[in-house]
Symmetry: C2
Subunit: 206 residues, 2 copies
């Protein structure tokens, strides 16, 4: 299972370069376990979902702690046809899929519950795309049920789901949505946006 993300970090500050360079240091503990490549648009992270989401969370929280309005945007993908399989992405191919949808929802809720707080409030939205499977809508409805019970659900918006809460729980919730639902070997993608310190309104959960 090939899994990875194209990740961009946007600090709304004249010192965006400095904030990005500092935040990228938060990826250092992951460099031996993730493939990391950067260009002027995004940084590619390739590796298993737990490390991907931990790395994105640490990158984002480090930038957000400057107090500047920061946004992390990422295209996250697993099982994409045409991508080379890579040992670095090892994920148990049957993980969770011998379990019923109800059991996977329970496991996802338990994983979010067990996640440590970061102290960084965030607002987030994401779209989950499950490609080319007969169980497409059933898996999406199961995932929506999980999201509504995750503790960070805010509301449905057109084309996406909005979350709010501590960055720890928000990233954990999106991670669980990404890999517990849809075929274990299927092509599943996420379009995620995580925001902190927006001046527009308080980032409290509604």
């Amino acid at each position: 299972m090939f899994s990875g993300a194209q990740v961009s970090l946007y600090p709304m500050s004249g010192d965006f370069v400095g904030i990005i360079l500092d935040a990228v240091k938060a990826l250092d503990p992951y460099r031996d376990r993730l493939r990391i490549e950067t260009d002027d648009i995004s940084t590619l992270l390739v590796g298993p979902p737990d490390l991907l989401f931990a790395a994105m969370r640490d990158l984002f929280v480090t930038a957000a702690r400057t107090g500047k309005h920061c946004v992390l945007s990422a295209a996250v993908s697993r099982g994409c046809p045409g991508e080379p399989d890579d040992a670095i992405c090892g994920i148990n191919p049957s993980a969770g899929r011998t379990e019923s949808l109800a059991d996977r929802i329970s496991a996802a809720l338990a994983a979010v519950e067990a996640t440590a707080d970061t102290g960084q409030p965030t607002a987030a939205q994401f779209s989950l795309y499950v490609m080319g499977t007969g169980t497409h809508m059933e898996e999406i409805y199961g995932c929506i049920d999980f999201l509504k019970r995750s503790g960070v659900f805010d509301r449905s918006k057109n084309f996406c789901t909005r979350l709010g809460g501590d960055a720890g729980a928000v990233f954990a919730t999106i991670r669980e949505a990404f890999y517990r639902f849809g075929d274990a070997e299927g092509h599943v993608t996420l379009d995620i946006t995580i925001s902190a310190n927006s001046p527009t309104k308080p980032e409290t959960k509604r």
Copy 2:
């Protein structure tokens, strides 16, 4: 056919609020033809693909002309199950689909060719997701063929395709990819990132 986008604009500047407020004025000519709703994460645009992409282009180019590093990120969707059909999104349901894939590629190339320059260079990347159809990969390969001949193709990256060139041609190319390929009534989404004025390297096409 319900089509729309959740759009975010990120000016990497301490004056991001002023740049955004100025750029949003570029949406005024579209307000009678698009549904537009804003919160602290994104702006929802609902309407037919030609207006959606024209509005996003004008929003982005207005911000980029400040010379600041600006990024537009959007989740674009058509035919999403669960979204209400809305008269504002009227698109000819059979537009192009009585034509062969080869003819649609030609039409897409002609549409990009006919697009006026904006004078704003950009670098862009996007992912196209065609959900739940038997012709999934055939349509994607047809779309990739179009992209490679579009004049703004840069290269394939993991999980996405990179473009570079004038904002006019770049937005037109992504618009054509969005609505000429995949089932006319199918669920197709885009995850797009358009960047200008990055200090990292020149945004010339490679």
